[in-house]
Amino acid sequence: MDYLDHLEAEAIYILREVAGQFEKPALLFSGGKDSITLVHLAEKAFRPGKFPFPLVHIDTGHNFPETIEFRDRLVARLGEKLIVGHVQDSIDAGKVVEQKGKNASRNPLQTVTLLDTIAEHGFDACIGGARRDEEKARAKERIFSVRDEFGQWDPKRQRPELWNIYNGRIHKGENVRVFPISNWTELDVWNYIRRENIDLPSIYFSHERDVITRNGQLMAAAEFLNMDHEDVIEYRKVRFRTVGDMTCTAAVPSEAYHIDDIIEEIRQSKISERGARMDDKVSEAAMEDRKKGGYF
């Protein structure tokens, strides 16, 4: 069996385990390539039936317009339910406070909106597109990752996960984060997208746009970035290698217009995918700390 067939079969198996083990699962959809790949795998797992879960998008309000358009088009084609949790609602309700200053981002605020959305709908499992190759704390996380009633991950108390057996039993109030593409690398995802001809938002491919340079990274010029006179806007040929919201996702200069170019670019790259994520640069254990707090 080719390794992509193996990874695909494993992910489909995991998605079906979620369907079989949980009362009210959800698929967390960010509009990025990993969650788009998950949706494609869900079609393979459950068609011609309906998905046994809705798609859930936690929207910071600072997303790329291209991502939102793509999301709405995809949902319309699928005929599946979409639930959107708005970070703006959490801010309006006084549950979180917007960061101030130039590097303000709503990325950390998402955790509260996510946990509220989980509680409101009573989700007992949330499927996510995180991969173990992304980050060293993620390399330690289980495929079925149990979170306590506060949404917290406890890396020291993880359940042993053997063979193809996933123990999703939880008490009320707890929930499980499930990562069907844990064993995929960035390159695997791109090779799979090419093989399966999966449609992606245009910002993954090279295009020209206004950017500014912040902390050595190219950021899309947008009102949310609290720009001032020190920010010099340049018109550059760029693409996005990972897609979070506009405040935490940096662009890379690129001439990759087609998927073959992207795959070649990643092969040659000397910087990891999350190197373009401002949220990971906070500290050595930034991801571990956020996961302990309830992050994806």
Binding site: H6, R16, G49
Partner: protein, 416 residues
């Protein structure tokens, strides 16, 4: 391109993390920003070279203590193969983590410190590898630089290890002398060991033939989910979704649903709207049958002439994984694939001392204990022996009170 999953067993003292770091580094799998992070953390070896161990120790507690606690999965690929490393801790108090990592590996790298030779830890790791049914072992005799690359040291360790595996179920053992720190025989052959005629570690990993084919396994298809759209276009569609865990199924095969033992014929096999003639081991597919029979999640389709043991009583090898010991007066839940049932442990047949491999009587089993038990299930279960089919012979026990996974079971035989 195919995939090789392997586990590395050994402790930090043996240079395990350094070995993995070296493999990643020498295959250009470490990127600039990750190297920068190592430099930022300012971890250096005594000779001033970068401490590659930090690449694998992902948790704060691990970096603080300088030990591996939990299994970490690492990924790299070369022109020839794609690899998944399960980097497991070597200390005895983390035996359960090694068992976890070993459950999904096709090959094990056992690290031996050239200065120390075969020690108790080597025996323990090899026993776990054998217990979990990993067919191939590669013994890496590490720190050869510390013994002046002496062939006699290597040969002695090799003959000691050959004796050690005599009583184990390991099918194939190979040996390579390395220095993870200096890079000898990792990505390429070293001139320091001119007496060694074998392959470098990477060359070996790229070319080793691993016995994870299942030509001789019987066909098993645990049903995970029944697809019934009940829509206007597909009012009568009924497909059984699941993953083949051994053997192959073809359209036209006579099959039996277990535990009901009702038989039917496969009329169609689908993978994402494409019809297949055959579904082979590992494939996630949808199977259609000629007859409308009652099959639901937890049931298993098997070929009529290749049936597993269907029983309520089994014997199994066990690794206890919870800090609360096994309580023989309590019910547990067994989970095999997506099937669960209440079980009672009827007898602890023995406990193994995993350093001497001696068996002795036991009244309970504690954290990291390995032994053999007999259990009785409330429902009929369809198991193969673990030796015949890992995926259909393995199961876990769950504590009903706190839902924790408390044990790994490797079925040895049915008792009915």
């Amino acid at each position: 391109m195919d995939l090789l999953k392997f586990i590395t067993a050994g402790s930090v003292d043996d240079g395990k993390s350094t070995l993995i770091g070296r493999l990643l580094y020498d295959t250009n799998s470490v990127l600039d920003d990750q190297l920068e992070a190592i430099q930022r953390a300012n971890r250096k070896n005594n000779d001033g070279t970068l401490d590659l161990a930090i690449l694998t120790d992902g948790l704060k507690a691990e970096r603080e203590q300088g030990i591996t606690i939990d299994v970490a999965y690492k990924y790299f690929q070369t022109e020839k193969r794609k690899f998944i490393i399960a980097d497991a801790p070597g200390h005895i108090q983390y035996t359960r983590n090694m068992v976890t990592g070993a459950s999904n590996s096709d090959l094990a790298i056992i690290l031996i410190d050239a200065r120390k030779g075969v020690i108790e830890q080597t025996r323990r790791h090899s026993f776990i590898v054998s217990l979990l049914g990993i067919p191939n072992v590669l013994v890496c005799v590490n720190k050869m630089d510390m013994v002046d690359y002496d062939q006699a040291v290597f040969d002695k360790i090799k003959s000691d290890y050959e004796r050690l595996v005599l009583n184990l179920r390991i099918k194939q053992v190979d040996y390579v002398p390395v220095s993870a720190l200096k890079g000898d025989n990792i990505a390429s052959k070293s001139t320091n060991t001119s007496w060694y005629s074998g392959k470098s570690l990477l060359d070996f990993l790229e070319t080793v033939e691993v016995n994870h084919t299942t030509a001789n396994k019987q066909a098993r298809f645990p049903v995970q989910w029944v697809i019934r759209p009940q829509s206007e276009e597909l009012p009568d569609y009924r497909g059984y979704a699941g993953r083949v865990v051994g053997g192959t199924f073809a359209v036209g095969d006579r099959v039996v649903a277990l535990p009901s033992e009702v038989s039917s014929t496969i009329t169609r096999i689908e993978l994402a709207a494409n019809d297949l003639d055959v579904a082979s081991d590992g494939a996630s597919v949808i199977i259609h049958l000629a007859d409308d029979i009652d099959i639901s999640r937890g049931d298993m389709l098997v070929k009529q002439d290749e049936q597993p043991s269907v029983s309520k009583q089994f014997e199994a090898e066990i690794c206890w994984m919870d800090s609360k010991p096994l309580d023989i007066n309590q019910f547990y839940l067994i989970q095999q694939h997506g099937k669960t049932a209440k079980v009672k442990i009827q007898d602890i047949i023995y406990r193994v001392n995993i350093e001497t491999l001696e068996q002795s009587a036991a009244v309970d089993l504690g954290l990291n204990d390995i032994g053999k038990i007999q259990f009785k299930s409330a429902d009929s279960l369809a198991f193969d022996s673990y030796v015949a089919n890992k995926t259909n012979g393995g199961a876990i026990l769950i504590d009903l009170r706190n839902n924790l996974t408390v044990a790994a079971l490797m079925i040895t035989e049915s008792l009915d």
